[in-house]
């Protein structure tokens, strides 16, 4: 699927772009290709969806977004598709998945939001609950961030 050059490019761009006037030229020279070739490859990866997003990963806690709950919903099997799509349409929802239930966690749709305060989260969760018409939900706030990194791909070979 990926040739050696593709993998070498991905290894570079999944790192940190240097803060110089021509950052792509610097990366291209490390790879031994032209800046133009690198720019075209990045655009191609974006078009093919291998790059989900190109830009900054921020530390949302440092930006003042200190309340980061996973809002979990108990949704009847036949409504999962509809409810999942409705939750996804909220701008503040960054992630939304259908997952299995656990013995002590009888919820099957998982959504993530990030806000400045817990109160804001409870308010938004209530609004979401009304829109999707689901009464049984819970907010699991992150009490401590223990690790947050970006995945490094193709490092095994």
């Amino acid at each position: 699927m990926f040739n050696d050059l593709d993998k070498a490019i991905i290894k570079e761009i999944q790192g940190d772009l240097p803060l110089v006037a021509q950052p792509y030229r610097e990366i291209a020279s490390r790879l031994g290709i032209s800046e133009q070739e690198l720019l075209e490859k990045i655009k191609e990866f974006q078009k093919q969806g291998y790059i989900r997003r190109f830009g900054a990963a921020l530390r949302h806690r440092e930006m003042g977004l200190k309340a980061n709950p996973m809002i979990i919903w108990q949704v009847p099997e036949e409504r999962i598709e509809e409810v999942g799509n409705k939750l996804a349409s909220f701008a503040r929802v960054t992630h939304c998945y259908h997952r299995a239930m656990l013995p002590k966690l009888q919820y099957n749709v998982f959504s993530m939001i990030h806000a400045e305060t817990k109160e804001e989260c409870f308010k938004l969760a209530k609004e979401m609950a009304e829109v999707i018409n689901i009464e049984d939900y819970n907010l699991l706030f992150s009490e401590k961030e223990l690790k947050k990194t970006s995945m490094k791909y193709f490092m095994e070979d």
Binding site: Q14, K43, R53, M63, E81, E145, T149
Partner: protein, 155 residues
């Protein structure tokens, strides 16, 4: 952080230019010079607000397998378990949450076999059960945050 910084963060989260002089192009949108753009970005990085500037790859499209895991860890065991879990490069996020299942982490691996082996390995090393919750259906993944104070910054 002033308004220019906030707008800068908003722009670089989703529309980072892929061109020869990206900081010049961003500066033009904000009415500042290329040098000032670079200086502001350096400062935001220094402050820890910007974690990284680059490509966020789609793990599925690259053939990798990812999952969310939960563990119920007794508090006196917690630091030791966290140390074991954080040890794996495929564990990219790990959070303590307010529930009996108190430890929640994401795991990305090159294959399903590798994923299952890692989970068994964590169970063996910690003596605790790992609940595996892979996505049965993905409805949304969009991690450009709303920058507080920027109108319409949710993209």
């Amino acid at each position: 952080m002033d308004n220019i910084d906030k707008n800068l963060l908003s722009i670089i989260q989703k529309d980072f230019p892929v061109c020869s002089r990206p900081f010049q192009e961003i500066g033009e949108k904000l009415g500042i010079t290329e040098d000032e753009t670079v200086a502001r970005l350096s400062e935001l990085k220094e402050q820890g607000i910007i974690r990284r500037l680059g490509a966020i790859m789609d793990s599925r499209k690259l053939g990798y397998k990812s999952t969310l895991c939960a563990m119920e860890v007794p508090s006196d065991n917690l630091s030791q378990v966290v140390k074991v879990v954080n040890d794996y490069i495929g564990v990219t996020h790990n959070y303590l949450r307010n529930h009996d299942y108190n430890l929640w982490f994401t795991l990305i691996t090159p294959s399903q076999g590798h994923l299952e082996k890692t989970l068994r390995d964590i169970e063996k090393r910690t003596g605790q059960k790992v609940y595996n919750l892979p996505a049965l259906r993905l409805f949304k993944i969009k991690v450009n945050f709303h920058v507080p104070g920027v109108k319409g910054g949710e993209g």
